[in-house]
């Protein structure tokens, strides 16, 4: 609990960030940018976890650890995602999401 800042402020920030991420995911054609949008989304969720932890259940550290785990998952996701993107680039000479519409060709 931080003096002078209600819980709602954090939630508004994280919500806006979340939907900005979704907007990016839906509009950008570039696979790497889409990946970055996902990172934004994950970040907003992290903020939520941490804030709820801090404001509503300060005696525990669940939200805190959940955020750490989400960060680890995000790292794994980024690594694998980028490996896939590089592979796609090798096949199509481009990283446009439009190219990737078949499971197999």
């Amino acid at each position: 609990m931080i003096q002078g800042i209600p819980l709602y402020y954090f939630l508004v920030v994280s919500t806006l960030m979340f939907f900005i991420g979704i907007f990016g995911f839906l509009t950008r054609k570039n696979l790497i940018t889409m990946l970055m949008s996902i990172e934004l989304i994950l970040n907003s969720v992290n903020i939520n976890f941490v804030v709820f932890n801090k404001y509503l259940y300060p005696q525990n550290l669940q939200g805190h650890f959940f955020s750490i785990i989400v960060i680890a998952v995000a790292a794994a996701e980024a690594a694998v995602g980028i490996a896939i993107i590089i592979n796609i680039y090798r096949n199509f000479r481009s990283i446009d999401v439009e190219n990737v519409d078949q499971m197999k060709n």
């Binding site: 002078g4 402020y9 960030m17 907007f23 509009t27 790497i32 940018t33 949008s37």
Partner: protein
């Protein structure tokens, strides 16, 4: 008061650079804006007194992932290359969907009354975090910790295998 000023500053940083991240037509710049967003998030964690988490955020996110992303951008794109603009129809629809979602969520949050806990906060020093992380007691996180380590290992191996150049195929094509 200081808290509020700091928070507003961080919140503005986050929102502005988030928008820039998803709208910038130069990918490398987008990556840098993302870096700013992540650093500002770390600032929020500091403000919440979760220093360990903030440190992890800085090292893993800002340090690791963003570098990874920048590398892959350099591998796959020209710096000067501008990203294609999506169709206006798609943009409008996406804006509507995400805007509606945001409004809905904000409305719900606004309507809901959160009751802050009166209890004193437990400490979250690095020692506490480390003890809880390998503790098998109540409120211990040994199992998730192990699961995450296996996940990271699997992701590492997976990334190597997926991104590896297929040697056999190339050799065959060379033979031809």
């Amino acid at each position: 008061m200081n808290n509020q000023v700091m928070f507003v500053f961080l919140a503005l940083m986050i929102l502005v650079f988030s928008v820039l991240t998803v709208t910038s037509r130069k990918i490398l710049r987008a990556a840098v804006y993302l870096l700013f967003v992540l650093v500002s998030t770390a600032g929020i964690y500091f403000q919440l007194e979760y220093t360990f988490l903030a440190a992890v955020q800085l090292t893993v996110y800002a340090g690791g992932i963003v570098v990874l992303i920048i590398f892959s951008i350099l591998l796959t794109s020209h710096i000067s290359e501008k990203a294609a603009v999506s169709e206006w129809k798609q943009s409008v629809l996406s804006t509507l969907a995400s805007g509606a979602g945001a409004l809905l969520t904000l409305l719900t949050i606004y309507k809901f009354t959160f009751v802050p806990s009166p209890e004193p906060a437990s400490t979250s020093t690095v020692t506490d975090v480390g003890t809880a992380l390998i503790s098998t007691e109540h409120n211990g996180f040994a199992l998730p910790f192990e699961v995450v380590s296996i996940l990271l290992l699997a992701a590492m191996i997976g990334a190597i295998i997926v991104a590896r150049r297929e040697k056999d195929k190339n050799m065959n094509s060379e033979n031809k």
